[in-house]
Every structure is written in structure tokens, then in C-alpha cells.
């Protein structure tokens, strides 16, 4: 396997080539992330004007999501190990309108950097009190809120001594099919950012910084938990306000 220095050199070369032309989205063709090699489409995406079904998104309601699913620290008999924290923010569309009453899903490693997934072979301890999966619906203002513990960084086998910065996976729906987003939220100042080909696959530095949450002392609560704020901005909705399905 290549060493980090070789991967870092590839990252730097691509970022220099993309300077000033970087887009808001990751490059699909991004060789430093080795698993992309055979999985990235080679042809440019075909431009489509969204049709009726693509201008709408599925509905989710309270029958889909239980109240306790937003608190990842109360899903077992005991309290999970780690830094208890609240992660909250707003989901809005490209025009600044809230995405109300819509599904947000998260999954993450535990405080040791281990997923409760059969393919995760990282020799770090599982936590019997932590699954690492949460769901909630945004409120009328587009706000979501989860209680969890801070995930740890973890190794992966992209290259020798490859480590992912700590992150929470987010799955978000908009009001249109076209807005569907799965992404990852990171924590401020992570020393692994520069080394990570997944984070760096977004070659515009300002765009990838959109994935970093902000510590927010107003979300932190006394004697209980730290707090982070992370807002999610989707693209425009392609819907006119009065359109009916």
C-alpha cells in the first residue's frame, strides 16, 4: 500500500489543477480515494430538466420516526462512553426556505472509532450502550436536533496508515427528489483533514469547510453536554410555491 506522503502528493496535485474551478460537490473521479477508480462514471452527467416526480420528495411523518430515535444515548440500558454532545442545525433549500417536517438520518462510530457493523474490523472496543444510529424529523423551521457522543477517528485501508477524521454520516431529504443528499459532518480543527482523500475529494476549500460543524456554547448545556451547530443547505427546490402534485 502507498504511504500517506504519496496520497498527500496526489491530493495536492489535483487541488492545484482544480484551483479556481472547484465546484461545490466532490469529484467523482478522485484517484486518491482508491475505491473510486472502478466506480466513478466516466461520462459527464446528462443534463435533465426535472419532471413532475423529480420536483417532489417522499413524505415522512411521525408514524415513521419515534421520539427517542433522536437521542442516541438512551437506546440501551446504560449510558454510552464518550463526550455527550448535542448536534443541531437547520436544513434549508438554496433559496433559504426551511425544509420542514422532513427526515434526517445519522449514523456514526462510537467514541473509540468503532462502528457496530459486521465489516468493521478496527480493533477498538464496541460499546454495549451505543448503536450509533439516529433519526428525526425537522420542525417547521427546518431544525433538526440529535443527542449523541462524539465519534472517534478510525483507520481504513485506502493506503498505509490511513485515518478518517471524526465524522457523523448524515442523510437528508429536501422537498424535491433532486435535492437528496448523503454527506458527512466533521468537527472543527481536525488534524486529519489534510490527509483524508474523502474530505479532500471536494477540491474547493470553501466548499469542503461547509461540512465542518461549529462549536456553539449556546448549544452546550451546564453539567450535561457540549453542543455543535451545523446547518445544511440543499439546492433550489424546482417547485413553485403554489404547485400541487
Amino acid at each position: 500500500m502507498e504511504k500517506q506522503a504519496a496520497i498527500s502528493a496526489e491530493i495536492a496535485t489535483i487541488e492545484a489543477a482544480d484551483a479556481g474551478t472547484g465546484t461545490a460537490q466532490p469529484r467523482l473521479d478522485y484517484p486518491p480515494y482508491r475505491s473510486t477508480l472502478l466506480r466513478h462514471p466516466t461520462k459527464d452527467p446528462h443534463h435533465a430538466d426535472p419532471e413532475t416526480i423529480e420536483r417532489w420528495a417522499p413524505c415522512f411523518g411521525h408514524q415513521d420516526v419515534g421520539e427517542l430515535e433522536a437521542d442516541l444515548t438512551v437506546q440501551h440500558a446504560g449510558v454510552p462512553i464518550g463526550e455527550r454532545m448535542v448536534v443541531t442545525g437547520r436544513v434549508t433549500d438554496g433559496d433559504g426556505r426551511p425544509v420542514a417536517h422532513q427526515l434526517v438520518e445519522i449514523w456514526q462510530a462510537n467514541a473509540s472509532g468503532r462502528y457496530l457493523h459486521k465489516r468493521d474490523q478496527h480493533p477498538a472496543p464496541l460499546d454495549p450502550n451505543f448503536t450509533g444510529v439516529g433519526r428525526c424529523l425537522t420542525d417547521a423551521d427546518g431544525t433538526y436536533r440529535f443527542v449523541t457522543v462524539k465519534p472517534g477517528p478510525y483507520p481504513w485501508r485506502n493506503h498505509l496508515n490511513a485515518w478518517r477524521p471524526a465524522h457523523i454520516h448524515f442523510s437528508v431529504f429536501g422537498t424535491a427528489f433532486t435535492q437528496r443528499l448523503i454527506t458527512q459532518m466533521y468537527f472543527p480543527g481536525d488534524p486529519l483533514f489534510a490527509l483524508d482523500p474523502i474530505y479532500q475529494s471536494i477540491t474547493d476549500p470553501r466548499a469542503r469547510e461547509r461540512l465542518v460543524a461549529a462549536y456553539d456554547h449556546d448549544v452546550t448545556s451546564p453539567e450535561w453536554s457540549t453542543g455543535y451547530r451545523w446547518d445544511i443547505v440543499l439546492t433550489g427546490s424546482h417547485q413553485t410555491p403554489l404547485e400541487q402534485p
Partner: protein, 182 residues
């Protein structure tokens, strides 16, 4: 500024798939069809860690506004489902055929594809093969060369429709970009 996407990664199986997620209707129920296929990489090898989401109109062409996809009651057609590929790269949905959302239009399933090694989600359409006139008149399909057009049209089999997703290669599936977003 838009929030960028990131790969779904390898560890989504314990989080995103859920019981009956791929069963928009109970398999074998009256009118049910199977929409299934394989996801393959540039070598033609199966992609065993992909996730597909299906979003569609109902058989009358209506956009469904009913919740309940995550906890199906067995009676409500929600128009949405989620299926992970298995070790052979195979996915399968039980659903109903969508109708045209406007008279004369070619009905299709809207599909979203996620996978480890895919840095962002991909969108595509699986058109129903039944109405050649509507397919010929479709604005998206008619803008594509014939061999590329064929990648977007499902083919019938004994229980429904087959739609393969080829991430690379000579018969690479046509993936879509929408205004403002790949």
C-alpha cells in the same frame, strides 16, 4: 453555499436499510411487480455495497403524499423505497408500475444510487418499456444516442422489470444532473 455530498461509505448497512424497505407493496400482492437488477463496476464486477432508493408516481400517475415508508402498514403505497445490494451486487424492489404524470408522457422510476467508492450520489431514471411512442417523444431520451438511451429503459422479465446500473464501461448508465446539482 450548497452543502457538498460525501460517500455513503462501507458502514451504512446497519443504519439505512430497514425491514420491508424495498417492499413498496407486499411481494406477490395483486398488481405487484419486481424491479430488480445488478450494480456493476468498471470491470463488470458486482458492487456489493451499493444502496438504491426508488421514488415514483402511483399507477395513476399521481405523486404520492403519504408517509409511512419507514414503517409500512401493508396498505399504504408511499411511492418510495430503499434497497441495498447483496453480495452479488443484486437489488430488488416490489412495487407497482408508475403511471404517466402527464397524459402521453413516458413513465419512469426515479432512482438514486449510493455506494462505497462513489463520492456523491448519482441520479438516474428507469423508464417503463411499454409505450414506444411515449419513449420516442421523451425529451430526455430523445437527446441521447441510441446505445446510451437503452441504458435508461428497463427490460421485462417474468415478474416485472430488470434495470442494471453500470457505473463505468461501454454500457455505462446515463446519470443525470439537474439545474444547480449533479
Amino acid at each position: 453555499m450548497t452543502t457538498p455530498g460525501q460517500t455513503v461509505g462501507p458502514f451504512f448497512h446497519y443504519a439505512l436499510p430497514y425491514p420491508r424497505g424495498a417492499e413498496l407493496v407486499p411481494p406477490g400482492s395483486p398488481g405487484a411487480i419486481r424491479l430488480h437488477g445488478h450494480v456493476v463496476d468498471g470491470n463488470g464486477d458486482p458492487v456489493p455495497d451499493a444502496l438504491l432508493e426508488l421514488w415514483q408516481a402511483d399507477p395513476d400517475g399521481r405523486v404520492v403524499r403519504a408517509g409511512g415508508s419507514l414503517r409500512r402498514d401493508g396498505w399504504t403505497f408511499t411511492g418510495w423505497g430503499r434497497a441495498a445490494t447483496d453480495a452479488a451486487g443484486h437489488y430488488s424492489f416490489a412495487t407497482l408500475p408508475p403511471g404517466p404524470t402527464e397524459p402521453g408522457r413516458a413513465p419512469f422510476f426515479a432512482l438514486t444510487v449510493f455506494a462505497r467508492g462513489l463520492t456523491d450520489r448519482l441520479c438516474t431514471r428507469a423508464y417503463l418499456p411499454g409505450d414506444p411512442a411515449a419513449l420516442a417523444a421523451d425529451p430526455l431520451l430523445s437527446g441521447l444516442p441510441a446505445e446510451r438511451r437503452a441504458t435508461l429503459i428497463a427490460t421485462p422479465d417474468d415478474r416485472g422489470l430488470v434495470f442494471d446500473v453500470r457505473l463505468q464501461g461501454a454500457r455505462e448508465t446515463v446519470f443525470l444532473s439537474f439545474p444547480g446539482r449533479r
